[in-house]
Symmetry: C2
Subunit: 483 residues, 2 copies
Amino acid sequence: MKNLEFLTDLYQLTMMQGYLQHGYEEKDAVFDLYFRNIPNGGGYAIAAGLEQVIEYIETLHFTDEDIDYLSGLNLFNTEFLVALKNFHFSGDIDAVPEGTPVFPYEPLVRVKARIFEAQLVETTLLNLVNFETLIATKAFRVVTAAGGGSVAEFGLRRAQGPDAGVLGARAAIIGGCQSTSNVLAGQKFGVPVSGTQAHSWVQCFPSELESFRAYAKSFPDQCLLLVDTYNVLKSGVPNAIKVGLELEAAGHHFLGIRIDSGDLTYLSREARLMLDEAGLYDAKIVGSNDLDEHTIWAIRAQGAPIDSWGVGTHLITSKDTPALGGVYKLCAEGQNGVFEPRLKVSENTTKITNPGIKKIVRFYDRGGKAMADLIALEDEYFKEPLTIFDPLQTWKKKTLTNFTTKEILKPIFRSGKCVYNLPSIQEIQAYTQSEMATIWDEVKRLTNPHRYIVDLSPKLYNLKQELLQQISDQVNEVEESCK
Amino acid sequence: MKNLEFLTDLYQLTMMQGYLQHGYEEKDAVFDLYFRNIPNGGGYAIAAGLEQVIEYIETLHFTDEDIDYLSGLNLFNTEFLVALKNFHFSGDIDAVPEGTPVFPYEPLVRVKARIFEAQLVETTLLNLVNFETLIATKAFRVVTAAGGGSVAEFGLRRAQGPDAGVLGARAAIIGGCQSTSNVLAGQKFGVPVSGTQAHSWVQCFPSELESFRAYAKSFPDQCLLLVDTYNVLKSGVPNAIKVGLELEAAGHHFLGIRIDSGDLTYLSREARLMLDEAGLYDAKIVGSNDLDEHTIWAIRAQGAPIDSWGVGTHLITSKDTPALGGVYKLCAEGQNGVFEPRLKVSENTTKITNPGIKKIVRFYDRGGKAMADLIALEDEYFKEPLTIFDPLQTWKKKTLTNFTTKEILKPIFRSGKCVYNLPSIQEIQAYTQSEMATIWDEVKRLTNPHRYIVDLSPKLYNLKQELLQQISDQVNEVEESCK
């Protein structure tokens, strides 16, 4: 997470030079970072990555080496390179705190800054927020499927590069995983690390029994034995029971076994019977082997006696939806504090942006459950009874009464200074749990969830319609002038 | 790519302490890194990531801060922590050069070292080789689909974290992409960077035409205009034509347009007609918008006049198969240079490992096309005629004559010293092209490719059968003793 100033697309730099040449460098812009589709076929996403965004913004600068590199591309002029050498971020950023449930079209990050600055940070902000939000969301799904059983993240070897392993482990903890196998994530973020032995340990000793005894000797109080190197029920579990009984006889607590291949329902049931028969009632069974939320859910539904889970590839890559698809769109521009709303049209109506400087208001019922969100303009306030409507199917209306509200976006930077107190990773994990408790189970269902209501305020809706009409008129003028 | 010593799973460290306690730290081990399934439903993978592996191994050491962190976990003893403080890699590594086509079960990396050392590096080696191999493979597929059209990688904003963006861009270049939008990858690896403007540039000016004119003024010889901010055919293309003609009249070469939404076949055909009608025959059309190899293939099959392609999310995440699934398995262990083969059994026959210290021999026909690979023991040599057979369906035989051979694994480290000359990224890209030219088109087909033959040598096959029988006998002994 150092020297990320070049973690950007070249076109950000060419546009910046263009802004400078056309006297636009002092123009202010407001950009929204949001996603259009919820990953994994689910009903929510969980915001994450803000801590890395803050670190990036705070350390953002260009070195002489950077300027030399750009100079060698023969694209940039001296005026621009000097401006870049003096660059620091001096704008405002608002963002949704990590661990907050979020929904399509809601700005997770809002950047208000000179367009020269706001343009540069687009790519890095998207990269960081897209990935961590994706993995925190997936992790919450996996942890939900595991019910009370704890989940250990151990996907580092399948992660998409070193940062994906480390930031993915962080996001997995935010989403509710109990620990990670990733030592670097442990060191960097202070999260619990866990792990015992691999098949190579077992293979390396003359026999499975000797390998188990050796492990028990080295780690008598953290002894969880991997039982599937040769044959789970004929060799692994019998040998583990021998060593477990020896440990218990010596006054230690035998943790249990891990099954990493074969049918986990069948093998865990048989293993449980064998452990119980030997009197090892407290020995736990850990299941792993290419698990995702759906397999864990199905195995638990079959009553498999698995106490905790190790999840790798599917979690660390969000395998079924490996990208969140967040975008960063200009919604207003101005100068000296006066802003004009801006809109981007598209052939695809879902790609049309929401104009203006916006906020997100979440409405809660008396029981503290979230009923709906409104994307509204910054200066709007709402009183009950409030009738809201779907922005695409405007006949779909709902009247809210008896509500309390919360604004979801919080100030993070003001004039380039961080004004936000970073919570610890444990605090974020707890915040995720309390925030997700406000979301109805229907929305949290793994498949075919109820769609949470996110509407536009009437004022924002009307502004959007007006701008669409204006642009349509302009397009017709261009077409006419070409005839 | 600094301080990756902790980019490992905790269990590597607990096992290392165990090896030390049981006097196994001087024992030597041989591990194979290989994958079992080809990604993206394809017929090949392209090895990548070796340069990062070398950098990791060469700089691998533990700092005082690292030792303090581990000490605080209350898992490790002083003897182990001292051994870690003195750690450096002193073993041998062989690997397949980057850009080589590889197939399931073939060791891409082979590590022969003290088990204490070989165990530690497992996770990082897998992380690096899995990801870059995945993306180089995907990139070759995309570039294949694009035919002669060039492909620019621009997925950084959707990459799984910063390293995924940078290493993914590197792998994309290895696989044949012409450029990347990623400035950090450009700076770090010397690859060409490219990019022009985004929708925000167009939105930021009072009109689309003014935004195009401003861009043309700033970059008269790199002017590629994004035409879909308001309406491609009614506004974007007519405005681009105006500016293109102005540029040409002023003696510059107008590069062309980029279409980033809507139906690319329809829009590119209409845009081509309009550009040609205006006399802008040399103006190029770049297509982008959630493209993968299948969409590019289909759009080209419809005769769309698109000259080059920008590919983001699908390429940088290998969206249809976001993990390679490589594993790192013990295949031999020994002491003082004498090794014994080792095997891991599994309920799933495809998960049984190949024992012994192995090499890969590739057989070429007279025309220089690759016919088959044999995974063989290190001391084997082959003369024609040679009859090979499928290791799972042993009745499937093939006799090879008139062949030349090449051993695919090359020495990379000897006694901890790097003995390999790193090629430049341009050399690796060229090597990929020449290596892939040896592979039949049938194997390179995007869907339902012909399966390339990878068999075991008879000697290796027999060794594997013997060990399977021995383990089966041992398992039965354990079972008997438990009755």
